[in-house]
Symmetry: C2
Subunit: 336 residues, 2 copies
C-alpha cells in the first residue's frame, strides 16, 4: 500500500503471494487461472479494498469505454430523453456516457468536444451549435466516430440522425388544408435554425401541393419563448381577419399560442410540432407532430458503437426519423 492510500495490483499481488499479472488476470476475469490462486487473489483484493484503476487500464490498453454526448441544452427534455436512451445502450455494453452541454454556444461546444476527445472517448454524439465543424475533422480521421443529432453538421463528413422535420410539418399542414382552412397562421422560432428552415419548407410544400400559397401576413418568426408566442397569437386573434388555424413550429410556440387561445376563448384549430408534457391536459383538442426521441438516442449510440468496431464500414449516412400526427388535449365543457 503506497502513499496514495489506494491499494494497487502490486499490493494485492504481494499480499496474495502471486505475480502482478495473475492479479490482473483474476481482476479481469480472464481464463486459465488456477481456481485456488484466483480465490487467494480475490480474498486479498477484498481484504485490501482494492479497486482497479480504470484510467491506467485504458491508458495501457488503448481501449475506450466512455461515450460523449454534447447536448445543446441540458434542461431540454427532448435532448435528455435522447441522452437517457443513449446512456442505456452504453451501460448495456459496459460503457458510460459523459453528458456535456454547449447551452447553444458554439465556442463552448468546441471546448467541450475537444475536451472529451482529450479524455479519449470512444465516440461522440453531438447536437451541433457551431456553424462549422472542421475542427473535428482531424479527430474523426484519427478514429473517434462522431454522430450529429437533430441538426446537420457543416464542414465534416459524419453520420447524421435527424427528424423528418419537413415531412412532419407538411403532413400537419396538409391536414389543416384538407379540413378547409386557408388562413393558417404559422409561428416559427428563429428562422435560420435548421429545424425551422425545414419545417417552414414543409409548410410551403403542403400549400404548393394544394395549389395554394402561404399567407405571409400571418407568418410570425422569432418566437423563442412561450411568452413571445402568446403575445403574437393574441395579436393575430384580435386582428381584423383572424386566422382559422395555426401551425406552431415547436412546442414552446404551441404552449404560448395555447395560452392566448384559451385566454381569448378563441375558436381556432391548432397543430404543433413536438409533443410536450401535459399535452393531454390542454383544454382544446389539438394535433401534434410526434416522434420517438428515445429511438433517436438509441440509434445514435448504436451507430457509434458500430463505427467504433468497424470504422470504415459504410459511408457516413443521414438518417431521417419519421414523425406521426397524433391527437392531444380535450375539449372542456363550460363550468357552472
Amino acid at each position: 500500500m503506497r502513499k496514495s492510500g489506494r491499494p494497487t495490483m502490486v499490493d494485492v499481488a504481494a499480499d496474495a503471494g502471486v505475480s502482478l499479472k495473475t492479479v490482473s488476470r483474476v481482476v479481469n476475469g480472464q481464463p486459465h487461472v488456477d481456481p485456488a490462486l484466483a480465490a487467494r487473489v480475490t480474498a486479498s483484493a477484498e481484504k485490501l479494498g482494492f479497486h482497479r484503476n480504470a484510467l491506467a487500464a485504458s491508458l495501457r490498453s488503448g481501449s475506450r469505454d466512455t461515450l460523449g454526448f454534447v447536448s445543446a441544452d441540458l434542461t431540454n427534455t427532448f435532448y435528455m430523453t435522447i441522452a437517457a436512451a443513449a446512456s442505456a445502450v452504453a451501460v448495456g455494453r459496459g460503457m458510460q456516457l459523459i453528458i456535456a452541454s454547449s447551452e447553444e454556444d458554439a465556442a463552448t461546444e468546441r471546448t467541450l468536444t475537444l475536451d472529451l476527445c482529450q479524455r479519449r472517448v470512444g465516440g461522440l454524439i453531438v447536437v451541433p451549435t457551431a456553424a462549422d465543424h472542421t475542427y473535428l475533422q482531424a479527430e474523426v480521421q484519427r478514429g473517434t466516430p462522431v454522430v450529429f443529432l437533430d441538426r446537420p453538421a457543416r464542414g465534416i463528413q459524419a453520420d447524421e440522425l435527424l427528424l423528418d422535420n419537413r415531412g412532419g410539418a407538411r403532413a400537419a399542414l396538409a391536414e389543416l388544408l384538407a379540413a378547409g382552412h386557408r388562413r393558417i397562421a404559422v409561428l416559427l422560432d428563429k428562422p435560420d435554425i435548421f429545424t425551422m428552415v425545414e419545417r417552414r419548407a414543409g409548410v410551403e410544400e403542403a400549400f404548393a401541393a394544394a395549389g395554394l400559397t402561404v399567407d405571409e401576413r400571418v407568418v410570425v418568426a422569432d418566437m423563442h419563448t412561450p411568452q413571445a408566442a402568446r403575445e403574437a397569437m393574441t395579436r393575430l386573434l384580435a386582428s381584423a381577419e383572424p386566422p382559422t388555424a395555426v401551425f406552431c413550429a415547436n412546442n414552446r410556440s404551441t404552449i404560448g399560442a395555447l395560452e392566448a387561445i384559451v385566454a381569448a376563448d378563441a375558436d381556432i384549430a391548432l397543430s404543433g410540432f413536438d409533443d410536450f408534457e401535459l399535452s393531454r391536459l390542454v383544454p382544446r383538442r389539438i394535433r401534434i407532430v410526434d416522434y420517438d426521441a428515445g429511438e433517436l438516442g438509441r440509434r445514435a449510440a448504436e451507430l457509434l458503437l458500430q463505427r467504433m468496431v468497424d470504422p470504415d464500414g459504410v459511408e457516413p449516412t443521414t438518417v431521417l426519423l419519421p414523425t406521426r400526427l397524433v391527437d392531444r388535449g380535450r375539449e372542456v365543457r363550460p363550468r357552472g
Copy 2:
C-alpha cells in the same frame, strides 16, 4: 508519430527539437518558457494535430477532473435540472460531469457508482436508491467525497442535500385548513419512499397544529402514475361525501388529479408538491409547493469541490432546502 496514429508529446518534442518536458510546459501553459521555444512547440503541435491525452495526465498527476452524478431517473426533469446546474459549476472549474442513472434500481446504482470510482472521479453526487450505502464507505474514506441528494443515505457518514419536504407539505395543508377545508384528500406515491414519509408527516403536523386529525378515509397511497391518481381522484369525486380540497404529494399525482377534476368539472381546491411544465396553463387556479432545483445542483457541486480541496473541513452535514407556496394555473371561462 507511433503506430497508434495519434501524435504524443514525444513526437511534438522531436519535431520542435526540444525536450519532452518543454512540450509539457507549453501545452499546460506553465511559465518560465522562452517565447521563441514556446512558439516552435505550438507550431509543431498544431502541425501534427497533437491533443494531450488527459487520461495519461491524470494518471501521472493523480488529479481528478471529473465529477460523477448518479441520478435515479434520467428523464425526470427535476434531476436533470440539478445535473445541469452541477455540470455548469464543474465546467466553470475546468472539470466535467459524468451523468449516470440507476433508474431506481439499487444494484444498478451500486454498479455505476463503483464504476465511477474506478474511473477516479473527484467526487460523487448520488440520488440514492439503495437502502444501504456501506459499500461506499471505503471510497469515502479513501478520499472520494460523496453528496447524497434528495434522499438520505443509510450506513454512511456523508453530506446530504434535501428539500424541506415536511415544511412544504405542512405549509400547503395549513393554508387549506385556514381556508376552512376539513375534508382534505391526500394523494401519495409509494408510502415508504423518503419524500412521501416526510410530506405525509408535514400533513399530519398541519392538522395537529390546527387541533384536528387527518381523515384517513380520503388518504390514498401508491399513486405512482398520473393514471392511478386520475382514477383515485375520479372515485373520490364520485363518493357520497367528496372532499372539498386535495393535496397531491408529487407532480405526477397533481397531473392525474387535475385530469379527473377538469373532466368532472369539480369545484375543489388543489395544492400539490413539485411544480411542473405547463402548470401555468392548467385551467384551474392551484397552489404549488415550489423550490429551486438548480440551487440544489449548484450547492451539491460546490460542496463536493470544497470537500475535494479540504476533505476534513467540517463534519458531514444535512442541508434542508426551503420551499415556497406559489400560484399556478388560471380559471377558464365557459366557451360559447
